[in-house]
């Protein structure tokens, strides 16, 4: 059996909204293993974005345990979290979040700068990973010169470039048409087969169907967790 990458026990995330306490996540206990390919689903307000932020170390739980690769992330400070995000997590966003003034290579190099990788090596690694997502011909193009699918592939390349433990994709196909969405999902499939751990958030059933595990959230709790 694959080793556990993420271990959450009785994890809660509460927000104080005036007098009221919003239980965005309520007593979540879940594990993700290496090479998992999972989709987190749920209606809006179910807590899937909050869970995503906590898995991605963009947010910390109010209570409970969150172990990432055996380290308790819940107790880390901002800078330690930044290092964890840099080393362990590759983000793919619905809105791509590429910097429009930089070309593909420079966008993909960005995480490597914060990892302290020397310029030549940055360049080489970014180029290789862009080739692996099929953008070898578009290295010096700017995002504005690319199609939506190509932009998302640049973003995936950026997520992959620092060899993270997990790729975390937040509605990665939300801004793409059906054909391109399927193209991107096939790419995630390929990456999964190559041994990557992928967790994505979606509210589309046909997108979730590409994955091997579907976790459904409702009102901050896990409603179902089905492997396939």
């Amino acid at each position: 059996m694959n080793p556990v990458i993420i271990n959450m026990e009785s994890l809660c995330r509460h927000y104080e909204m005036g007098e009221q306490t919003v239980r965005a996540l309520d007593n979540i206990t879940i594990e993700f293993l290496r090479n998992d390919y999972a989709a987190i689903m749920g209606p809006s307000g179910s807590g899937k974005s909050t869970l995503m932020n906590i898995i991605g170390c963009l947010d910390t739980p109010t209570s409970g345990i969150y172990e990432l690769n055996g380290r308790n992330v819940a107790e880390m400070d901002d800078d330690e979290l930044a290092t964890v995000r840099n080393r362990e997590i590759g983000f793919v966003f619905q809105t791509f979040n590429l910097l429009s003034r930089l070309n593909c290579l420079k966008n993909v190099e960005l995480p490597l700068i914060y990892a302290g990788v020397p310029p030549e090596e940055r360049h080489e690694r970014a180029e290789n990973v862009l080739r692996s997502v099929g953008l070898g011909e578009r290295l010096t193009h700017k995002p504005s010169e690319l199609s939506g699918g190509q932009i998302q592939r640049v973003a995936i390349a950026r997520a992959l470039v620092n060899k993270p433990s997990i790729i975390l994709a937040d509605e990665p196909t939300g801004n793409l048409d059906t054909a391109t969405s399927h193209e991107i999902m096939e790419m995630f499939g390929t990456l999964s087969e190559a041994g990557n751990t992928i967790i994505l958030i979606t509210h589309e059933e046909d997108i979730a169907r590409f994955t091997r595990r579907i976790i459904r959230l409702r009102d901050g709790r896990i409603e179902s967790d089905e492997g396939r």
Partner: protein
């Protein structure tokens, strides 16, 4: 440690690129923001230059008095305006100079070199044919005068010991007298009239300029002591000019001269002396507080303009942080630490300030050159120290004005920032 340093270098390189990009892609905004700093730096450097120039003019004036000459007079320069304290003092005598010279001749360890008598009046009137000059400074002395005074002769010579001893009616005149009475003519050997007495001009001084803008050394007529007394009488203002051997020993020399004068005047110990020993430092001690006051007020007022510039930068950096909230969120998600984001915005504001500072300095330099061209007499000094100080002030302004927005940016929550529209 080494890896950390490397990381810091890469982050800083990235931050510099971001700053350059931001400034270049927001040209008008960057220019307007920098304008505040430009105006601030121009006014501060101009103020600094003005203060330097006052200093320069002041030094120049003091050097006319001579750093190695001290003056025995009835009144003190250090307490100008308190004339009543000196009113009852007995007048000095020109003969003191000779007495002093005799005493120092017997003392090889003396700090004093030579004493020269001077008797003078501001109220002289000089004429040549139909041309008349009023308020001329007329001065009687002996042939050693030049040893105790600044100024070279442009033409002719100073009067000789023989002429001095014989009280000959000869004189040496300043540049203003020469050009005032003899425009376009050679004044040498011409005879000017002072109170119905004819004086032959034997020498002309080179132009020296005004002392503190008040008193002109070019407005003097210098003649033998005896000749002066024949024209104006003996009851004029007397000064004993004493040249000292080493200007570093002014204090000791003053002490020695004080003792000598007390001896000559027979003032018993414990009794206050009834004369004053003056030197150029007395002016300095009088004028320095005024000069410093002007400098402090000037720097404060011009500093306000830089402060306004700093507020402009702070404001625009806040806007810039707001605009790039998503980018900050993204960078944090990709692993940028607080310090990286903090430095990103600090570098940007410092860069704007530094550019503003350099443009301001160049502008100030051009203005200075213009002033020099238009008013050659006005002493301007644009010092290297001022350049360094301005650049340091620019950087400091950048740090101070960028700090609050940068700290703000560094503390942004990455999850919220990524969702920011």
């Amino acid at each position: 440690m080494k890896a950390n340093l490397k990381l810091f270098r890469y982050e800083t390189e990235e931050n510099l690129k971001i700053a350059i990009f931001q400034i270049r892609s927001n040209k008008i905004r960057s220019f307007l923001t920098a304008l505040g700093v430009i105006i601030g730096i121009v006014s501060i450097t101009m103020m600094g230059t003005a203060i330097n120039s006052i200093d320069l003019g002041f030094e120049k004036s003091l050097s006319m008095l001579g750093y190695d000459v001290i003056y025995v007079q009835k009144t003190s320069w250090a307490t100008m305006g308190e004339w009543w304290r000196y009113r009852n003092r007995p007048d000095l005598k020109t003969g003191y100079a000779e007495q002093i010279n005799r005493i120092i001749a017997d003392n090889p360890d003396s700090e004093l070199e030579i004493a020269v008598p001077q008797i003078s009046t501001y109220q002289a009137m000089a004429s040549y044919r139909d041309r008349v000059l009023e308020q001329v400074f007329s001065l009687g002395t002996n042939e050693d005068y030049l040893q105790t005074a600044s100024g070279d002769l442009a033409a002719g010579r100073f009067f000789t010991p023989g002429e001095a001893a014989g009280s000959d009616m000869v004189c040496v005149v300043g540049d203003d007298i020469a050009s005032g009475l003899f425009p376009g003519e050679n004044p040498l050997d011409k005879k000017i009239t002072l109170k119905n007495r004819k004086f032959r001009i034997v020498g002309v001084f080179r132009k020296q300029g005004k002392f503190l803008g008040l008193f002109s050394f070019d407005n003097q007529i210098i003649m033998p002591l005896g000749a002066f007394e024949k024209v104006y009488g003996k009851n004029m203002f007397i000064t004993i000019r004493v040249k000292i051997k080493n200007e570093k020993h002014v204090t000791e020399a003053k002490e020695e001269l004080l003792g000598l004068m007390r001896r000559i005047r027979r003032i018993p110990p414990g009794k206050e002396e009834n004369f004053s020993i003056n030197e150029q430092r007395a002016f300095k001690s009088q004028l320095d507080p005024i000069k410093n006051g002007i400098a402090a007020a000037g720097i404060f007022i011009t500093g306000m303009s830089l402060f306004v510039g700093a507020i402009g930068i702070m404001n625009i950096t806040f806007v810039s942080v707001k605009e790039r909230t998503r980018e900050i969120g993204l960078r944090k998600a990709l692993g940028a630490k607080r310090r990286t984001i903090l430095l990103q915005f600090l570098i940007e504001s410092v860069m704007i300030c530094l550019i503003g500072g350099i443009v301001g300095l160049v502008t100030a330099l051009l203005i200075t050159i213009l002033i020099e061209k238009v008013m050659p007499d006005f002493p301007v000094r644009f010092s290297f120290g001022l350049v360094l100080a301005s650049l340091a002030v620019s950087v400091l302004t950048g740090v101070v004005s960028g700090l609050a927005p940068a700290v703000n940016a560094s503390k942004l929550d990455p999850a919220d920032s990524l969702r920011y529209e």
